[in-house]
C-alpha cells in the first residue's frame, strides 16, 4: 500500500519538471513574505523560446501556497489562447500545508470556454480555466503548461506577483531568441538580477527576483506599472498573421500599423458625393468636421468583433458604411475616410485608454501599451481630437480616459507621438444654485439649476440619452437623501467648446430639516454627493492617484419659515491640503434668508503616504463641516 503511494508520487513529480526538487512545506516561508499576504508564489518560471520570427513557445511552471479565501485568485489558472496559439502539456497538482501531495489536476479538470469582455460581441479569444476548491488553508497548488504560438506580435508584461496581497519567494523570466530577431526590454520597480548571454546565433535573457513582499490593495492607487515589479518586453521583429513589422521605434511600429490601415479608407462614389453635398455650404474646416462627425454618429454604432488580424486591422470604411457598425479601429478609420473624402487630413491614432493603460514609456515602443484608437485632425494649430465609438459624445470631447497622455499618430511615414489635451481642474466643474423654501414641519420646496462641465459632465453623460422616466429614477437614486419628490426637471446637453450639460429641477423634500420641540435643525442639503473618498485613509502605504482635478461650486439660498428666527449659524470655514481645498460661508440675507456658499477643489496628482496626515484631516474636515447645522427657533424672540 505504502509502496504504491510512493510510486504514484514519484510519477507525478517527475511529470512536473522543476516542481519536484523543492519542498513546499508552508512553514518554510519566511515571515516577511507572510506579512499582508493571502498567497505566496513559491516558485514561478516563465520561459519563452523564440523559434523564428513567427513562432515561439511559452512554458510556465507555477507553484503558489494559498493562505486564505482572499488568496483564491492566485490559485486560479487562466490561460488565454486563440486561433494563433495552442495549449499543450497542461497539468497541475494540489499539496497540503506540509507540502505533501494530495491530488493531481488532470487535463479534463480544466474548463475551456470562449472569453469575451462585456463590450465584445465576438472574438476568437478562449480561456482554459481551473480554480481549486479548498477545504482548509494553507494549501499549495502547482501548474505547468506550455503554449505554442504561430504568430508573434509581442510578449505581455511580466509580473512575478499575481496581484495584490501576493508575495513571491522566487521567480524567473527567461527568453531565448535568435540573435537577429532582437529584443527590447525594461525592468520596473525592482532590481531584478539580469543575465544576458550568447551561444552561437542565440541570445539568452534571464531575469530573477527573490523575496518579493506582498503589496496591499488600497483604493485610488496609481498604475500597476508604478507599483509592481515587472518586466516590459518587445521583440524587434514580428510576424503576425501574414504581416511583418519592426518595433524598434514608435516610428517603425507606426509603419506596421499603417500597413494594416492603408487602402482601407475608400468610400463609394455616391457616399463621397453625399458628404460633399452635406459639407459644401460650410466654409470652416472645423465646422465641416463637426457635420461629418454627426453624420458618422448617426450612421454607426459600436460593435466589437475581433478575429485574428481583426484585433489590429480595422474593417474597411466601405464595410462600416454598409453595415453601420464597427469597433474603435473601424469607426475611427471610417471617420478618417469621411474627412479625407472632403480633403481634410486626419490621423488614425493609437492610444492607451483609462487610468491604467497608456503609452507610459515614450522611449519603449511596444504593442501592449495601447488598447484603443481615436482620430486626430491637425487643422492648423487648432488640433481636433475625436472619439468615434459613442453616438452621443459632443464633437471634440474625448473624455478623461483619453486625455492628458501620449498617443501615436499613424502617418504614411510611420508613427509620431503626440500629447492629447488635458482637461484642466478649473474647467472640470459643477456649479449649482439651489433655492430652498423651508416650512415649519421640516419639509421644503426646492428648486435648483446645476451645470456640469468636461470631466464632471461625464457624471451625467450616461443619463443624457435616456428617457424622462429613467432619468427621474436615476436622479431619485443619486441625489441627496431627504425623501425627495421630483415635480419637474430637465437635463440638457449644451456642449460647445467644452462638454457641458445643465440640470434644472424642482420638487419637494418631506424631510429636509429635523424638527424637535420649538427648534428646527437644518443641515444645508447641497443635493450632490462627493466623488472623492468619504472617509479617512488610515495607515496608507502607497500613493493616492487622482488622474483629473475638479471643482464644485455650490450655492444654497434658504428661506426660513414664517415665525422662526435664526438661533445659530455655523461659522465660516476654510481649509486645504495638497489633495484639495474647501471653503464655506454662511451669510444672513435680511431676516428670512441664509446663503450658504461652498467651494471644493480636488487636485490632480500623485499623493505620497507622508501627506496622508493632512489629507485625512481634510477629509474629516469636509465630513464634519458638511454636517454642521443651522438652528432655527420657532416663535419670534
Amino acid at each position: 500500500m505504502k509502496r504504491k503511494f510512493l510510486q504514484l508520487l514519484i510519477g507525478l513529480l517527475a511529470s512536473i519538471p522543476g516542481i519536484a526538487q523543492r519542498n513546499f512545506d508552508y512553514s518554510l516561508v519566511p515571515d516577511s513574505l507572510k506579512k499582508d499576504a493571502n498567497a505566496v508564489v513559491r516558485s514561478y518560471s516563465t520561459i519563452y523560446n523564440r523559434l523564428s520570427v513567427e513562432e515561439y513557445t511559452l512554458t510556465v511552471n507555477y507553484v503558489a501556497t494559498i493562505l486564505n479565501e482572499k488568496g483564491s485568485s492566485a490559485a486560479e489558472l487562466l490561460i488565454n489562447y486563440d486561433n494563433n496559439s495552442e495549449v499543450a502539456d497542461l497539468q497541475g497538482a494540489i499539496y497540503d500545508e506540509k507540502g505533501i501531495y494530495v491530488k493531481s489536476i488532470k487535463k479534463k479538470n480544466f474548463n475551456d470556454y470562449a472569453f469575451n469582455n462585456s463590450f465584445t460581441l465576438y472574438s476568437d479569444n478562449r480561456v482554459k480555466q481551473y480554480s481549486p476548491s479548498a477545504t482548509s488553508y494553507p494549501y499549495t497548488v502547482a501548474y505547468t503548461y506550455s503554449i505554442e504560438y504561430k504568430s508573434t506580435v509581442g510578449f505581455p508584461i511580466w509580473f512575478p506577483q499575481m496581484g495584490f496581497g501576493v508575495s513571491a519567494e522566487e521567480a524567473e523570466l527567461v527568453i531565448n531568441t535568435p540573435e537577429i530577431l532582437g529584443l527590447n526590454h525594461m525592468p520596473l520597480n525592482y532590481p531584478f538580477r539580469f543575465e544576458e548571454t550568447t551561444s552561437g546565433t542565440s541570445k539568452h535573457f534571464k531575469w530573477t527576483a527573490t523575496a518579493l513582499k506582498a503589496i496591499t490593495y488600497e483604493p485610488g492607487l496609481p498604475d500597476h506599472l508604478d507599483i509592481f515589479p515587472s518586466v516590459l518586453l518587445s521583440p524587434n521583429d514580428i510576424a503576425y498573421e501574414g504581416t511583418t513589422g519592426n518595433f524598434t521605434s514608435w516610428e517603425d511600429y507606426g509603419k506596421w500599423v499603417y500597413s494594416l490601415i492603408d487602402k482601407r479608407d475608400g468610400l463609394p462614389a455616391e457616399t463621397l458625393a453625399e458628404i460633399k453635398l452635406l459639407t459644401g455650404p460650410i466654409a470652416d474646416a472645423k465646422e465641416k468636421a463637426e457635420a461629418l462627425y454627426k453624420y458618422m454618429q448617426q450612421k454607426t454604432r459600436y460593435v466589437n468583433i475581433a478575429l485574428g488580424i481583426g484585433g489590429f486591422q480595422p474593417m474597411a470604411a466601405t464595410e462600416v458604411h454598409q453595415k453601420g457598425y464597427g469597433d474603435c479601429k473601424a469607426l475611427s478609420n471610417y471617420m478618417k475616410a469621411l474627412l479625407n473624402g472632403i480633403g481634410i487630413e486626419a490621423y488614425y491614432t493609437e492610444i492607451g485608454s483609462g487610468a491604467y493603460r497608456k503609452i507610459k514609456f515614450p522611449e519603449f515602443p511596444s504593442v501592449n501599451q495601447t488598447n484603443h484608437v481615436i482620430l486626430c485632425m491637425p487643422n492648423g494649430k487648432d488640433t481636433i481630437w475625436l472619439e468615434c465609438t459613442n453616438q452621443n459624445l459632443p464633437f471634440g470631447y474625448i473624455g478623461a480616459n483619453n486625455s492628458d497622455r501620449y498617443s501615436l499618430l499613424v502617418t504614411p511615414n510611420g508613427g509620431k507621438l503626440a500629447r492629447t489635451p488635458t482637461y484642466e481642474t478649473r474647467k472640470n466643474t459643477r456649479n449649482s444654485n439651489i433655492q430652498v423654501s423651508l416650512f415649519g414641519n421640516g419639509s421644503a420646496r426646492i428648486e435648483f439649476t446645476a451645470d456640469f462641465r468636461n470631466y464632471l459632465y461625464e457624471d451625467v453623460f450616461y443619463l443624457i440619452g435616456q428617457s424622462k422616466e429613467e432619468q427621474k429614477k436615476e436622479l431619485l437614486k443619486t441625489l441627496s437623501r431627504g425623501d425627495l419628490q421630483i415635480d419637474g426637471f430637465s437635463l440638457t446637453d449644451v456642449s460647445g467648446d467644452d462638454a457641458k450639460a445643465t440640470l434644472q429641477l424642482n420638487g419637494q423634500m418631506n424631510s429636509y430639516a429635523v424638527t424637535g420641540g420649538n427648534r428646527i435643525f437644518v443641515e444645508p442639503n447641497l443635493m450632490f454627493r462627493h466623488a472623492f473618498a468619504g472617509n479617512q485613509m488610515k495607515n496608507r502605504k502607497q500613493n493616492l492617484y487622482e488622474a483629473v482635478g475638479y471643482a464644485y461650486n455650490d450655492t444654497l439660498n434658504l428661506t426660513i419659515p414664517l415665525n422662526t428666527s435664526i438661533e445659530f449659524l455655523p461659522n465660516d470655514n476654510e481649509f486645504s491640503s495638497p489633495y484639495g481645498s474647501y471653503k464655506i460661508t454662511y451669510q444672513k440675507l435680511g431676516d428670512t434668508q441664509i446663503r450658504v456658499s461652498r467651494q471644493i477643489t480636488i487636485h490632480k496628482g500623485n499623493f505620497p503616504p507622508e501627506e496622508f496626515g493632512t489629507i485625512n484631516a481634510f477629509l474629516t474636515g469636509v465630513l464634519r463641516q458638511d454636517k454642521e447645522k443651522i438652528v432655527l427657533l420657532v416663535g419670534k424672540t
Binding site: 499582508d36 493571502n38 486564505n68 482572499k70 494530495v102 491530488k103 474548463n111 475551456d112 470556454y113 470562449a114 460581441l121 465576438y122 478562449r126 476548491s133 477545504t135 496581497g165 448617426q298 450612421k299 454604432r301 459600436y302 460593435v303 468583433i305 454598409q322 453595415k323 453601420g324 457598425y325 453616438q391 452621443n392 421640516g442 440619452g465 435616456q466 428617457s467 424622462k468 422616466e469 429613467e470 431619485l476 437614486k477 437623501r481 425623501d483 425627495l484 418631506n510 424631510s511 429635523v514 424638527t515 424637535g516 420641540g517 427648534r519 435643525f521 468619504g534 472617509n535 479617512q536 488610515k538 445659530f568 455655523p570 465630513l623 464634519r624 454636517k627 454642521e628 447645522k629 438652528v631
Partner: protein, 679 residues
C-alpha cells in the same frame, strides 16, 4: 433521447408533411413591413421605451426524420420584429442564440434570415444580414452561441429575424417568454404535440397570458423497405398509414410592458410571464407508456431510485470513523447536528456547482475532498443518519432559479439539495456548503419559498423561510464631560443572519483593522477604537462586538447650547426605497429585529432643553413595528429604538406604506437632543 415509432429494423419515410406554420396567428408575413412601423416614433404603450417588439411569434412542432433512425425531432421556429426608437437601444441589434450540444443529442439552427429596414426619404430600404456575418462561438463544452450584429441600424430601424432550431432534445421543449426588458406589442407561441407525447405545461408570471387548446387529425404515411434474401438482392417496399392526433396549444399576450429591474427582488424569473414544458410521458402504438415525470410521487420515486441520488444513500457507509468521533463528544441534539455540518464542510469543499445529483459516489467526493451541493449535502444526510437522526435530502430551487410551483410537477425545476432532520417534532435544515451556516440558518440562496423532502414524511413540502431572523442589538453608553469630550462604549450583539453576514465578511478580511474600516465607513459619525470581536464555536450563530468611541460628529456647540443626534448606530442610514411606485413585490429574505439602547450621562454644567418625543408606529397585521422611547433620569438620558419587520413579501400596493414606515424611522433617528449651559 431518440424516439422512433417502430423498432429500428425499419426505415421510415414520412410523406405528406402538414407542418405548415400557423400563419393565422402571425400578425405579418416575413418581409411585409408596414410603413407605419417605420414611421413610428414612440412605443404605443410606453413613451419611455427605446425599443419594442412589434411582434414575437414562436412555433414548436414535431417532425419525423426518416434518415438514420432519428425518429421525432423538435422544430422550433421564431419570427420577430423589433422597432429601434433611439440610440440607447442599439444593443438590441446584437443577437445571441445559444445552442445546446451533448454527446447524444444536439440542437441546430437550420435556417436564419434577418433584415434591417429603414425609411429613407419616404422609401423603405432593406439590408440583409449576410451569412458570413453570422458567427458561431464555441462557448463551452455543451454550448455554442450563434452571434450576429444587425447591419445598417439607425434610429427608427425595424429589425426582422426568423430562424429555426431543430433539436433531438425532446425532454425540454423550448420555453417562451412573454415579457422582456422592452415592451412587446404582441407575443404568440403555438406548440403542436403528437398524441404520443405528453408534456407538463407550466405558465407563470404576473402578466396574464391568453391560452387556447385544440387538435388536428394527422396522417403519417410511413414507408419501410425490407431486403429479401435470395440469389439477387431484392428490395420490397411496404407503405402504411398511421393516424394520430396532434394537440395544439396556443398562447398569446398583447401590449406587455417592459420588465423593470428592481432591488429587493430575489429573481425576475418569479415574475416574468413565461410558459415552460417538461416531458411527462411517451406512449407509442403497441408500446407501453413510458413515464418521465408525471406526479410529485413519481419524482420522489425517480430520485429514490437514481444512482446519483437515493441509491447513493443506500451504499455502505464510509463515515463510520467520523460518526464515532462525533458521538464521543456527547453533544446535545442541535450542537451535534452543527458539529456534523462543520465536519462535512471541513472534509468536502463545495466547488460552487449547484446540483441535486451527485457528481460521483459519495465515498469518492469524501475522498477527493471536493464536490457539488449534492456531493456535500448527501454526505451530510448520511452522517446525520448514522448519528441516529431521522434525516432526508431536501431538494429545492435556489433564489436565482425561481420558485417551485406545487401544481406543476417538474424535476428540472430543482437545482440544489440540502439536508433535513425531523427530530422531536421539529424540522431542521442544514447546508454544509457554507461554513457560516448552521442548523436552520441556511445560506441566502436557499431561502426560496418551499422545498420537497425526499423521504418518508407525511408532509413533503417544507417551508424554507422564516426559521431565523436578522437580529441586531446594541447598547451604547456615552459620557459627556464638562468640556463635552466624549467617552463611550458600544456593544453589539449579532445573532442569526446578522451574525452570519458579519462572519462572512470577517472571513473576507484578513486583518481585523479592515473590519474597523468597514464599520467606520458604515457609520461616519464617530471614531472607533479598541474593536473587539468575540465569537464562540459552540454557539455558532451569535457574535459580539465592542468598541470605544471618542468623538461624535455634529456635536454642535453654539454659544450656550449643544445639539446632537443620539442615534449613533442607526439601522437605516437612509431610506432604501426611493422610487415613487413599485410594479412588483418587495421581497425580504428573513424577518428583522433591530434594537438600539442608548444611555447618555450628561455633564453637571448642562441641562436638558429638548428631547425627541417617544413614538410608536405599526404596519397592519403585525407586518412591522417601530418603537422609539426616550427617558430622562436625573442627568441621564436613555433612548431605545426597536424595529421589527415580520413579513417577507410586500405587495406593490403596500409599497407606499412600507416606504413611509422606513422614512419615519429614518427621520426619527435624526432628531436631536438639545442641552443648555447652566452657566
Amino acid at each position: 433521447m431518440k424516439t422512433t415509432l417502430l423498432p429500428l429494423i425499419f426505415a421510415f419515410l414520412l410523406l405528406g408533411l402538414q407542418f405548415h406554420s400557423m400563419s393565422q396567428n402571425q400578425p405579418s408575413k416575413f418581409g411585409k413591413i408596414d410603413l407605419t412601423e417605420l414611421e413610428s416614433k414612440l412605443c404605443p404603450i410606453d413613451s419611455n421605451a427605446h425599443a419594442y417588439y412589434i411582434f414575437d411569434v414562436g412555433n414548436t412542432s414535431f417532425e419525423y426524420d426518416q434518415t438514420m433512425d432519428k425518429g421525432f425531432q423538435l422544430v422550433f421556429n421564431r419570427h420577430l420584429r423589433i422597432k429601434i426608437l433611439d440610440k440607447q437601444a442599439f444593443d438590441w441589434g446584437n443577437f445571441s442564440i445559444p445552442i445546446y450540444q451533448s454527446n447524444f443529442d444536439k440542437e441546430e439552427v437550420t435556417s436564419l434570415k434577418a433584415f434591417t429596414y429603414n425609411l429613407e426619404e419616404g422609401k423603405i430600404t432593406k439590408i440583409k444580414l449576410e451569412k458570413s456575418d453570422i458567427l458561431t462561438e464555441e462557448t463551452s463544452d455543451n454550448w455554442r452561441t450563434l452571434k450576429f450584429a444587425m447591419p445598417g441600424l439607425k434610429e427608427g430601424s425595424v429589425l426582422e429575424i426568423e430562424y429555426d432550431i431543430r433539436s433531438d432534445y425532446l425532454f425540454n421543449l423550448q420555453e417562451w417568454y412573454f415579457q422582456r426588458k422592452i415592451p412587446i406589442l404582441y407575443s404568440d407561441y403555438t406548440v403542436k404535440i403528437p398524441e404520443y407525447f405528453n408534456y407538463n405545461r407550466s405558465s407563470t408570471g404576473y402578466y396574464p397570458i391568453q391560452s387556447e387548446t385544440g387538435c388536428n387529425f394527422r396522417k403519417l404515411t410511413l414507408t419501410h423497405r425490407q431486403q429479401a434474401e435470395g440469389l439477387t438482392v431484392k428490395e420490397e417496399k411496404y407503405t402504411y398509414d398511421v393516424d394520430f392526433t396532434e394537440n395544439i396549444f396556443h398562447y398569446s399576450a398583447s401590449n406587455i410592458p417592459a420588465f423593470p429591474e428592481e432591488k429587493f427582488m430575489k429573481t425576475a424569473e418569479n415574475y416574468l410571464s413565461k410558459i415552460e414544458f417538461e416531458l411527462q410521458s411517451t406512449q407509442f402504438p403497441n408500446q407501453i407508456q413510458k413515464y418521465y415525470t408525471a406526479s410529485w410521487e413519481e419524482i420522489d420515486n425517480k430520485l429514490n431510485e437514481s444512482a446519483n441520488f437515493g441509491l447513493e444513500l443506500k451504499r455502505a457507509n464510509h463515515l463510520d470513523d467520523d460518526t464515532k468521533l462525533l458521538k464521543d463528544r456527547n453533544l446535545g441534539d442541535e450542537p451535534l447536528m452543527n458539529a456534523a455540518l462543520r465536519l462535512i464542510h471541513k472534509k468536502i469543499s463545495w466547488n460552487g456547482q449547484y446540483n441535486k445529483y451527485t457528481s460521483a459516489t459519495l465515498g469518492r467526493a469524501y475522498k477527493t475532498g471536493e464536490g457539488n451541493s449534492a456531493d456535500v449535502n448527501l454526505n451530510l444526510v448520511m452522517l446525520l443518519r448514522s448519528l441516529g437522526f431521522t434525516s432526508h435530502p431536501l431538494i429545492l430551487s435556489t433564489q436565482a432559479h425561481g420558485i417551485i410551483h406545487p401544481a406543476h410537477p417538474s424535476i428540472t425545476r430543482f437545482n440544489y439539495v440540502i439536508a433535513m432532520v425531523a427530530h422531536n417534532g421539529k424540522t431542521y435544515l442544514l447546508d454544509a456548503t457554507d461554513p457560516n451556516s448552521s442548523a436552520n440558518l441556511v445560506p441566502i440562496r436557499c431561502l426560496n419559498d418551499k422545498g420537497r423532502v425526499i423521504g418518508d414524511l407525511p408532509d413533503k413540502w417544507i417551508n424554507l423561510m422564516d426559521y431565523k431572523s436578522y437580529v441586531s442589538k446594541s447598547q451604547c453608553m456615552i459620557t459627556l464631560d464638562s468640556t463635552l469630550s466624549v467617552n463611550g462604549k458600544i456593544r453589539k450583539y449579532l445573532s442569526d443572519y446578522s451574525a452570519y453576514f458579519y462572519k462572512s465578511k470577517l472571513k473576507e478580511s484578513a486583518e481585523p483593522e479592515e473590519s474597523i474600516k468597514e464599520l467606520e465607513e458604515e457609520s461616519t459619525s464617530y471614531t472607533i477604537n479598541n474593536l473587539q470581536i468575540s465569537t464562540s464555536d459552540s454557539i455558532v450563530n451569535q457574535m459580539e462586538l465592542s468598541y470605544d468611541i471618542s468623538s461624535i460628529d455634529g456635536l454642535n456647540n453654539a454659544a450656550d447650547m449643544v445639539y446632537f443626534s443620539p442615534a449613533l448606530d442607526p439601522f437605516f442610514n437612509e431610506n432604501p426605497f426611493k422610487l415613487e411606485k413599485r410594479e412588483f413585490p418587495v421581497e425580504f429574505n428573513y424577518p428583522y429585529q433591530v434594537q438600539r439602547m442608548y444611555a447618555f450621562v450628561l455633564p453637571e454644567n448642562y441641562e436638558i432643553s429638548e428631547l425627541p418625543q417617544p413614538l410608536m408606529i405599526k404596519l397592519p397585521e403585525g407586518a412591522g413595528s417601530f418603537r422609539y422611547d426616550t427617558k430622562k433620569i436625573g442627568n441621564m438620558i436613555s433612548i431605545s429604538s426597536m424595529i421589527d419587520i415580520n413579513k417577507s413579501l410586500f405587495l406593490p400596493d403596500e409599497y407606499e406604506l412600507l416606504k413611509t414606515f422606513v422614512q419615519i424611522i429614518v427621520d426619527k433617528e435624526k432628531e436631536m437632543i438639545v442641552l443648555k449651559s447652566r452657566n
